[in-house]
């Protein structure tokens, strides 16, 4: 078995275990993937206007793990990225040797947990009776909240023969229009920035007097601009009151 095939086989096997322990084989995880990810690592939402950047996995020698997700991408792409990153955090990933193809495994793991084998096969059997293949793929992509291309790849992985459905994500959006299907919110980004764990630790430091309101505001301005503004106003009010007392 070559490296890629070996990575895929291992990822698929671990995905089945993961689904059994975490949810079930009979549902699509969809957006819930981000909750699962947040239980394993600190999740940071960034908005970076760069179509080639999806996010990052950052680990510290203390064992702390951070996953950044770029909210510039459409929601379905963001969720799939979250599933991909979950592989890198899994025990299964730690067990592999240096030669292991982790990127391949991560993509297969993401597909296997977002598009479980059992439900995909059943759904495809049903939908192909009711719709033409392109429409069925779009509907499955909407149910599962994953990129269209991932659905096509997954169906092929499951041995389903598909012809004439090889499109980019942008082209799939055009196919929706041609098929008279309504727009999906999953095809659009939800731009925001958040680093909740940082927010909590800064608030705690502020409460204990480790940092003052201005420093806290400075730290949080990127991830919670409203709170940063509130803190800055508090500090300005405090300084103004002090000045008033002095005069």
């Amino acid at each position: 078995m070559d490296r890629k095939k070996q990575a895929e086989a291992i990822a698929e096997a671990f995905a089945a275990d993961f689904l059994e322990e975490t949810t079930a084989n009979a549902i699509f995880i969809g957006s819930h993937i981000e909750r699962i990810l947040a239980s394993k690592a600190k999740v940071i939402y960034q908005y970076v206007e760069d179509p080639t950047y999806y996010g990052a996995a950052v680990s510290h020698e203390s064992g702390a793990q951070f996953i950044a997700l770029n909210t510039f991408h459409p929601l379905r792409v963001r969720y799939f990225t979250a599933a991909h990153e979950l592989w890198h955090l899994s025990e299964a990933s730690q067990l592999q040797d240096e030669d292991f193809d982790h990127e391949r495994a991560a993509d297969r793991f993401a597909a296997a947990i977002m598009l479980p084998k059992a439900i995909m096969k059943d759904l495809w059997l049903q939908f192909k009776k009711l719709y033409e293949p392109k429409e069925a793929i779009i509907l499955i992509a909407d149910f599962s909240e994953v990129p269209y291309e991932a659905v096509v790849r997954r169906l092929k992985e499951l041995g389903i023969s598909l012809i004439g459905v090889s499109f980019t994500e942008e082209e799939w959006k055009n196919e929706r229009v041609k098929l008279d299907l309504s727009e999906s919110t999953l095809d659009f980004p939800q731009p925001f920035e958040r680093f909740t764990a940082y927010e909590h630790v800064v608030e705690d430091a502020l409460e204990k007097g480790v940092v003052d309101s201005l420093a806290a505001s400075h730290k949080l301005k990127k991830y919670n601009s409203q709170l940063a503004k509130k803190l800055q106003e508090q500090e300005m009010k405090r300084v103004a009151e002090e000045e008033q007392h002095e005069t």
């Binding site: 950052v58 480790v210 420093a215």
Partner: protein, 114 residues
């Protein structure tokens, strides 16, 4: 890197990024421009009492101003998903790492304090 060097480096970068002059800093600290020049060239060690004043001017905590982030960076392992294809996105990743380092520093402070 010694604290003095760390602080000098951070102040210099901050002034450059925020387009502020030595004159501006001197006025903020209520000291002469010549003294600022001596401090930032390393000719004169920054007195401990100046550190909180500097931190306040720069909008940082004393810890942040004194912490050697170059040491922390080495302890972070970063794997990008995709690539950063422009200067702005590279900077965003740098800022992300800074926030993570700061988070870890504050977290350590919490543990030591508890």
């Amino acid at each position: 890197m010694r604290t003095n060097e760390v602080v000098i480096e951070k102040v210099k970068i901050w002034l450059q990024e925020n387009g502020k002059s030595h004159q501006w800093l001197a006025e903020e600290l209520n000291i002469s421009k010549a003294l600022v020049g001596h401090m930032l060239s390393g000719n004169r060690t920054i007195q401990p009492k100046r550190i909180p004043e500097l931190a306040k001017v720069l909008g940082l905590s004393v810890n942040e101003l004194m912490e050697d982030s170059s040491l922390n960076s080495k302890r972070l392992v970063v794997q990008l998903r995709g690539t950063t294809s422009n200067r702005r996105s590279k900077q965003e990743v740098e800022e992300l790492l800074f926030a993570i380092e700061d988070y870890l520093g504050l977290k350590r402070g919490q543990k030591n304090g508890s």
